[in-house]
Symmetry: D2
Subunit: 308 residues, 4 copies
């Protein structure tokens, strides 16, 4: 059983379908409830949005992953963000006064609305699918929903407009999350996600975190700060690094962080959705680490190595 | 005339009152409209929330400051976040089924609600004051609002509970924003705000940004990444550094960033609300820079300096 | 059998005596011949000068250690540098026209000679002991030697002046060198010596070397560049670091250098002669490394660790 | 009048001749006396050796430049190091038992001697030219000198062997030194020489020095440590950096060192003898600094800049 941020017809649901998995699926009303169901073992894994190219990190997801029982990411999915304006059959563009949608969707069609429906009032709902469901009721106070085509069709609505997106490159990133599992083998375009809590009152702490990666030739894909919720001005960092935990350079960098930071959470190594192949520099390949091990052995055991 | 994120009775309104300014005030329905009114010169300055110890950066404020016509911060204000549960007179705790509030407020009383009103349904509004206003209508679908005492009283509501806050240390930071102005003299506990856009495809770029500060002995109070909205995985950084633009070390660091980054926005130097006095190390005081200037002059003009 | 840079009566000989060892000893005419005798197994270990607080590194020693078959340092000795002016009995200060000594000794009494024997001509010999031996011959062209009291006495000379030293703090550092051996346990004030050859054409290479140490909280006692003899402008670095090869932080730093530099020579871990106790920071103690190993094991084997 | 490390016929003399200057010349018996004559104004400039690809830095030159009254380098010259074996007419290879030469020359023909004159004894003199002069005396105790062809010919000697050099790529670097002068304009392949004294007891000090350069995109050609002569383990650094003091990036880096180090000596900007053209990166060109100045002016004077 796979959980997802529902209801049926959300972009998350669409992302889940792209995985082509055979499992049964179950919608959850919120990111938190979906991830908690994974933690409790009610579902094997859950799919939730993590980042949007317009609005940034999805804080509910980020915050749930960085607190509570540890979960790990098994896969990521990228979906272009394209909406439609959907209404009950019989409604025309001219009739649309009240629109309902999710706040992120509202942010991404603001300009289109300003040009096409400047007088419409927008109300926010918890998901675009919930917005579509609302509009499907005959007594709904809303005339139309901004939602995915999947949601529009699911609730028997009619598209007044499609391909609605202020930024045609907008994309949302989703992740498939499970309880900790033995890492799968690297695929050559891997990514590793972490949460790093710095020691307090340690100026230069962030720089040391970056050095743990740079000294091992590891590029970062993403680094974001999030408040730690206890005191204004305290942050932890959510980091995506190139490479896989099976690589020695990643292991040494993570152990370096573990030694010097207050807390480090390993959130999984998994294939990058953009399939950019990784380049590993001279000196930080697994073979280089193994050779260094052998060299250190001969230093610590010079007689043994002379004998053999 | 000073603008603020309204309506009357919001925490922002309360923050504005703590400034003790004589000016007339004008509420605005959104952060964006308030800041645009400052840009257009309709108000002299505007006060908006920028950061919350629970939810993190207020993205609308951060994004408006980092795009569009340049604005600058003149002051910051810290307010503790404490809510009340307010209803129309005659409503008792037992009657409360439908609550309305702002999403950030909802996030900060989640636990209290789970313990005290586990069955209440929460609907989100654009501000806690708007929520209070809604509840004040006799035909409101909502039984109570989570809002500030100011808002509750303003709309004639009755407190069913006060001092409601899951985290008693929660605080919101507000800023007073104006059009660019000549910097005021340092006060000894100053802060400088920036937005830095890295050059694309430049791994190690963030490390270089941090070095521009560390090499001049400047501590950072805050660094946050925000998506640049054009492509997933592109970020700019919102930075608060200790110190004042009138200091040579800050000037040199900012000029270093200006030379090596795609774009740097100076968002002002202003007193820290927490009044933590700054410590400036040997070698980066203004006097050290002046002495270095003199030394360089004698290198470039050895004969002149020998004469004098 | 222990070798030393002879002849009998040199400062090196004196340094050897301070070790209080029971072994027989054998003088060698040059640093190179002494170290080659160690390499060939003709002597168990050899003692040679490595550094002088006035003249700097002893290049013959440094260059021999960084080329040819690997040797390792077992101990270091510090001796104050104080000379005497020694002549054949019957010679007075007024008679001294021609002085003979070692170039380093000449450099360290230059000022004393300028004040006391401004007209004397100084000739250079391979060692101060050889200078004393020369003067002991009745037909020597030299009137006096600048040498140690040991050498003066050994050759039956008379002190015309003693305590001769331009800089009363001058000190020479000697090392006891042997073939590679299993490291002895740390004593708490340890030092580790290395030679590091950078990869050519790698700007920033030295900085990376320093980072390999600084990231593991290891202070350097000394870093010197030496030409690699193949091309002007090519250098290797002779490094003394705090700490012992038995420590995990040292092992990881050295393996990091081994991975990323052209060649790294381990020249031994041994007690510091100045007995300055070492301070190891949080996060880089052996226990921190062990804890990080355990953490990484649980990441790589989550099921196993959950079971146990 | 130009001084040089004499006597006539030294490699330094040869280097001086390559400059093709019209001035009269005067030999000095030592590097120190030559440089002191420059300081005293007895000669306009002096030429001395500074570095040898085999032996490394010429410590007398390096130490004189880093102490006493400030001098500056105007030019550098590279000369290949090739010796001849020169004797009085009538001497054959078989007769050669006693050879005299300068210690550096001895070091550079050691292997050749081992192969060709394994039994010859080598005595050291202050210069190869002085060695040649010695051999020219009929009653000299020496049979042959290792010296330059210029010196051999000058003293009427006969070449028993020429092109003598263990390493055919060996080269010596000479510098033309004068009292401080206004910097000449950059030529596009410039070099700047410095001496940097770190603040004592400041671990990480060398790394900060390197960062002052790297942050401004300045490559180092050479960095060498030299003892400061007061205490073993104290060093200053002799540094050659790419670029010219007329460049803003060099000025800012040097002022950064001046602010944070105990002492910085500027030893001149001058053309590289190897004529490798310099590459200046984006962000650290003079135009980038000027643009940053303008930007900072608008920040500090927003009204003025809005007016204009």
């Amino acid at each position: 059983m796979l959980g997802y941020l529902g209801p049926e017809g959300t972009f998350t649901h669409e992302a889940l379908l792209t995985l082509g998995l055979d499992s049964e699926t179950q919608p959850f009303p919120s990111v938190t409830s979906c991830l908690d169901a994974v933690r409790a073992g009610h579902v094997e894994a859950g799919i939730v949005p993590i980042e949007n190219s317009i609005e940034g990190i999805v804080t509910a997801t980020s915050d749930s992953l960085s607190a509570g029982e540890l979960l790990q990411i098994r896969a990521e999915i990228l979906l272009p963000v394209v909406f439609g304006l959907y209404s009950r059959p019989g409604t025309s563009m001219n009739d649309v006064r009240h629109i309902v949608t999710h706040p992120h969707a509202a942010a991404q069609v603001r300009q289109w609305l300003a040009e096409n429906l400047p007088d419409a009032e927008v109300t926010e709902k918890g998901s675009t699918a919930a917005a579509a469901e609302q509009v499907s009721h005959l007594d709904s106070p809303y005339d139309a929903a901004i939602c995915s085509s999947a949601a529009g069709e699911l609730y028997g609505l009619k598209a007044l407009a499609s391909g609605v997106a202020d930024n045609p490159n907008a994309v949302t990133r989703f992740i498939l999350v499970a309880r900790p599992f033995p890492p799968e083998p690297p695929c050559g375009h891997d990514k590793t996600s972490l949460v790093v809590h710095l020691n307090e009152d340690h100026p230069g702490g962030l720089m040391e975190v970056l050095e743990q990666f740079s000294l091992r030739g590891i590029n970062l894909c993403r680094i974001e700060s999030r408040p730690t919720k206890d005191k204004i001005g305290n942050y932890h960092f959510s980091i995506d690094a190139e490479g896989h935990i099976a690589e020695r350079r990643l292991q040494e960098a993570l152990m370096g962080l573990h030694r010097t930071c207050r807390e480090v959470l390993f959130l999984g190594s998994y294939p990058r959705a953009d399939r950019v192949p990784q380049v590993v520099n001279d000196g930080v390949r697994d073979g280089d680490f193994e050779e260094a091990d052998t060299w250190m052995f001969t230093i610590l055991n010079p007689l043994e190595s002379l004998d053999s």
